[in-house]
Every structure is written in structure tokens, then in C-alpha cells.
Amino acid sequence: MSEKRRIRVIDTTLRDGSHSLSHQYGAQDIGRVAAALERAGLDTIEVSHGDGLGGSSIQYGFGKLTDQEALRAARAALHRTRLAVLLLPGIGVKEDLEMAYHEGARVARIATHVTEADISAQHMALAKEIGMEVIGFLMLAHMEPPAKVLEQAKLMESYGADVVYVVDSAGAMLPDDARRKVSLLREGLAVAVGFHAHNNLGLAIGNTLAAIEEGATVVDGCLAGLGAGAGNTPTEVLAAVLDRLGYETGIDLWAVMDAAEDVLRPLMPRPQVIDKAALSLGYAGVYSSFMLHTHRAAGKLGLDPRDILVELGRRRVVGGQEDMIMDVALQLAEKRAKAKGVL
């Protein structure tokens, strides 16, 4: 009998999931969620502001807690499960990474736009030097052809990444796209390949499975499918599906369902669904964390959020450019005022 293939699931309820709560987790919430995830047997969980260390800002929304407070709250609840952090060079700085290590984080996920891998070299080098596992994150991977994704993944590998992820930040990838990119990375890299999905087109589980079939061995999820836009792959659903397919994840299915239902759901301000704004993100290929900011700008200027999102997609705006939401909204409002003036 062949041994079951092992898939490592990294839960990011306390990082990507924090977008859904506008980064307002309290210390007690973090402690409870972290403890429930450890009980469920997750080997790694990610804890940071939704936009990574240093993300607490006007641009991305201030966190209720500092990154340090959030890490401390999680650390206090963990014994076996490893603690990961996310850092986007240009937003977080080396000092943040050193702080995270000091607070017990042992996995550094360093994220760049899919064409800009070379700005991760400095932070990957530091993470390696202080003894962290390094995971490279190539965001908005739907925007470039597979060969470009491989070229950039190789850069991250050369900087010391132990895993390189194809990240579908806009939830815009179709299963074939996920397959092509993951399989090319699997062939071209010596290190492991990961996949991070968003559910804006309802394909989070499907794309994650496609990636696993092509050789991805590390994948992300959030309890109850929390996360930016329509959310991430639901960790408990993924655990059930992978179990039925005969993969080994080390996750206790009943315990992870309990974590989603009993611990996380009471914290959710709204159900995580594919509403029209979330669907427009996937359709237009826009960074998922733009959603709530777009709702706010649209509300302020009396616009349809979909018009803003489609225009942002047309301009090929990248992750982190949340200031473009107000820029585009102001332009659309100006245009509308002019059109009315003519009539």
C-alpha cells in the first residue's frame, strides 16, 4: 500500500481573515482562535495585520492591536503549532520582522507583486539569518503568464525561500490557470510549491485541489472561509475534501469544524458570501482587500462599487494601492458631475 501524500495546510484566519473584521481582532479572540486551531492539529498559523506586519495604517486601516500584541496573544495559546507572519516589503520593515521573531514567529512569509520578486531579497536574507523558515508569496499571479511567474519564483528561490506560493490575490484564476502555473513551478523549482486562493469566483476549493493535483504541497485556508473579498479557502471544508481524497493533513476534522463554527463564527461581523462586489473583484481581477475600502469610497461619493472596481482592474492597479480607490472614485464622481452639467 502506498503512503498517503502529505499536504501542509497553513491557516491564515488571524491574518488574511482579519480583512473581514477590518483588522479589529481583540487579544482574547486571537487567543481563542489560535488555541482552537492548535487543537485541530494545524501545524502552522499566520498572525499579522491583514496587509502584513506594519500594515496598520490609514491606507489599509488601523488594527485594534499592534502586530506585537497580536503575536503575543497567539503565542500564549500555542505549544506545538508554529507561528507565521506576513511581510510586504515597502509596507513592513526589517525591524518588524525582528520583532516578530522575538515574539515567537518562526515562519516568514514575504510577499511581492508577481513581477517584483527582487524587492524580497533583503527581507528573505534577514529571515534566513535569524533562523526562520522563508515562504515567498507571488501575489496577483493571475496577471502574468506562467513563464513570468516561474522567472520570479526562481528569484525567490535564489534568495533562500523554502517554499514559493502562487497567490491568487484577486480570486480571478480559473482552475486551468492554477494548474499551468503550479505545474511549471513544480518542474522548474527545487523547493516546494504553495497555493493561496480567494473565493471571488467560487473556485477556492477547486483551484486549491487543481494546485495540489499539479504538485503543490503547501496550501492556505481560513476558518469559515474568512478573508479578503469573498474570503479564502475554508480550512474545515478543505480538510474534509482532502481527507476524502486520501491526502494526509494532520488535521482533526471534528475539531476544525468546531473551531470554525463555535469559535470563529461568533466573531464574524457579516456572513462571508460572494456578493456582487466580491464577484466583481474576481471578474475584474482586482486585489481582494480592496473590497471594504471600495464600499466606503462608493458610499461617500454615491457611486456603484462595481464601477470603481472595474476601473481599478482596467488600470492594472496592484496590491497595496488602496489610495487608488479614492483617486478613481474622485475621477468617476468628477465625470458624473460634468455629464450632469452638460444635460
Binding site: G54, S57, I58, Q59, P89, G90, I91, V93, K94, E95, H113, T115, E116, D118, I119, A121, Q122, H123, R315, R316, V317, V318, G319, G320, Q321, D323, M324, M326, D327, L330
Partner: protein, 320 residues
């Protein structure tokens, strides 16, 4: 040596005094990459006060060296050694790298030359010409040009803080990927930290954060910046808006492509200002406003230093 001085001295359109004596200060540019070459072209085309006496680097095959030769500017591949060999050179623009400037700075100081540092080394104090046009707050023979993000955003932070105390400033700089050179990419952390520190020290925000984003869209987007400030109290909106508009005009005097995208947006105590920078297209393409603002600012700082040198000479050596 002091850079402190009084009023400026008139020179003719050709950089010569009434009696035909050449008053232009001899300068060298270290570093023959994009920034160095663009700065050289600006000095040659626009400056009456500065004379490019040497363009020095290490790579004999660099495009910049070829351009300098075409323009008739003396070149060298002996880098700092060539600069130190020429006692007539008084101002040195360093467009190499932070680590190289750390080595150059003490040598230039010992040789009595003033350094305008375009790297993130920050050996000397930060200078933003819009905030301090005559470098009155500086008395070091080495000044640092912060970062391109800092040159574009700090004037806006200062414009707000001079009329209403700023508790917190946050700057978001988006750079077209093609104009982010290897130096910026390899030092993204220093870029982020230095920009924030500049917003605090020169922009006078009590706290500051800087965010840098690279956008690879093709055709390239223009270099743009969003400057958020949170004020200590409810602001006088008209006063803030007027100060911002006036400061944009001040920056435009030396960076013609700098412009406000929309009037400032007010949200209780928060003010949002958006600017974009179109480059002059001297050596670099127009979308590279981030590089243009650096060379424009360095030129403005170099000219302020040259004016002081002229005054010191006039005061020390009697009237011409």
C-alpha cells in the same frame, strides 16, 4: 566649513560676472547610471551656477560615460580618485550607492569638498529644497537628498504642518516598476525607513509612516504619491488648502512636472493630498518622475550651495 550664508549674488545668463570672470562653481558627478546621467544633462542645460567639470564612475562601457563625452564633459573611470585629484572641484554629487557613499563621505570632507548625497546613506542632514530653498538650516559640508518618495511627499507634510500641527503623517509612493533601479530594489527597506524619518524631521509630523509600491503596468503609470495627515485639532480647511497650493507652486519652480491631482480631501481631522510627478524627459522617460524629482532637487540644492560659495568668496575676497 560652513554652508551658512546671507543674500545671493547676481550672475549673468552665461554664469559669468560683469567682467567676464567665470563664476560657475566646478562640480563633479560620481556615478554614471540613470540618475548621474540625468543630473549631468540638467546641469548642462539649465544651470548657470554650476559647471560640470567631471563625470566619473567605474564602468568604461556605461551609456552615461558615452553621453558625457558627446557633451564634451571630462570623464573618468577612476571614480572617487579622479574627483580627489582635481582641487578645483568644490561640489560633488554622489549618485553611486549608500555603501559607496559611506566610503566617499570622509574623503570628500577631508578634501574640503561639499557632498550632495543622492544615495540613502544619509551621512549628512536631509535636504528638501521646497522646505528650505537656501539651505539655511544646514551647516554641514554633506547634505542628503532623502529619497524620491521623500522629495515628493515631505513638502506636502510640511505645507500642512506649517498651518496646523500634524500628529501623524503617512505617505504612499507608487513608482512605475521600470523606473525603480537595482539600487532602490536592493535597498527597499532603507527607502521606506528614510522616507518616514524625513516626513518626521523635515515635514514636522510627530509620527510618520511611509509605504512604497511598485506598479509594473505597461504603458507605465506616472509616479504618484498620496499624503495623509492627521491633525491635532480640527483644521482651518481654507488655510490648509491654501498652504498646500502654495507649496505645490514652490516645488514646481524646480520640478515643473509636479502637480496636485485633486484639491485636498478633508475628513474630520484627516487630510488627503494626492500628487503626481511627470519627469522632464531629459535622459529618463517622462514616466520616471520619481527619478526626475531627485535630480531636480539635487540640482536645486547644489545651486544653493554654489550661491553661498559665491557669497563667501565675495565677503572674504572683497567685492568684484
Amino acid at each position: 566649513m560652513s554652508l551658512r550664508g546671507g543674500r545671493s549674488r547676481e550672475t549673468g545668463a552665461d554664469g559669468k560676472g560683469k567682467d567676464g570672470e567665470n563664476l560657475a562653481v566646478k562640480v563633479a558627478i560620481l556615478g554614471t547610471g540613470n540618475i548621474g546621467t540625468d543630473l549631468l544633462i540638467k546641469i548642462q542645460r539649465k544651470s548657470r551656477l554650476l559647471q560640470a567639470a567631471l563625470f566619473a564612475g567605474v564602468d568604461p562601457a556605461s551609456e552615461g560615460i558615452a553621453r558625457a563625452r558627446e557633451m564634451g564633459v571630462p570623464t573618468s573611470t577612476r571614480s572617487i580618485d579622479a574627483v580627489l585629484d582635481d582641487p578645483e572641484i568644490r561640489i560633488v554629487f554622489d549618485a553611486t550607492s549608500a555603501s559607496a557613499h559611506m566610503k566617499h563621505a570622509p574623503l570628500l570632507r577631508a578634501a574640503g569638498k561639499t557632498a550632495v548625497d543622492l544615495t540613502p546613506a544619509a551621512v549628512g542632514p536631509y535636504v528638501v529644497p521646497a522646505v528650505d530653498p537656501e539651505l539655511e538650516g544646514v551647516c554641514e559640508p554633506n547634505v542628503n537628498m532623502v529619497t524620491c518618495g521623500g522629495q515628493a511627499t515631505i513638502p506636502m507634510v510640511f505645507a500642512v504642518s506649517r498651518v496646523a500641527p500634524v500628529a501623524y503623517a503617512e505617505t504612499v509612493t507608487t513608482i512605475p516598476s521600470r523606473s525603480a533601479g537595482p539600487g532602490t530594489r536592493a535597498n527597499i527597506d532603507e527607502f521606506t525607513v528614510t522616507t518616514a524619518r524625513g516626513a518626521q524631521m523635515i515635514g514636522r509630523a510627530k509620527k510618520a509612516k511611509a509605504i512604497i509600491i511598485l506598479n509594473p503596468a505597461d504603458p507605465p503609470i506616472l509616479n504618484r504619491h498620496t499624503i495623509y495627515t492627521v491633525l491635532e485639532e480640527e483644521p482651518d480647511r481654507e488655510a490648509v488648502a491654501a498652504s498646500v497650493t502654495a507649496m505645490v507652486e514652490t516645488v514646481r519652480r524646480y520640478v515643473p512636472g509636479y502637480r496636485l491631482k485633486y484639491p485636498p480631501v478633508f475628513d474630520d481631522r484627516k487630510v488627503t493630498v494626492m500628487v503626481e510627478v511627470e519627469g522632464a524627459g531629459d535622459f529618463l522617460p517622462k514616466y520616471a518622475g520619481n527619478l526626475d524629482i531627485m535630480t531636480c532637487a539635487a540640482l536645486a540644492a547644489g545651486e544653493a550651495i554654489a550661491r553661498r560659495m559665491g557669497e563667501e568668496k565675495a565677503e572674504g575676497g572683497g567685492r568684484a
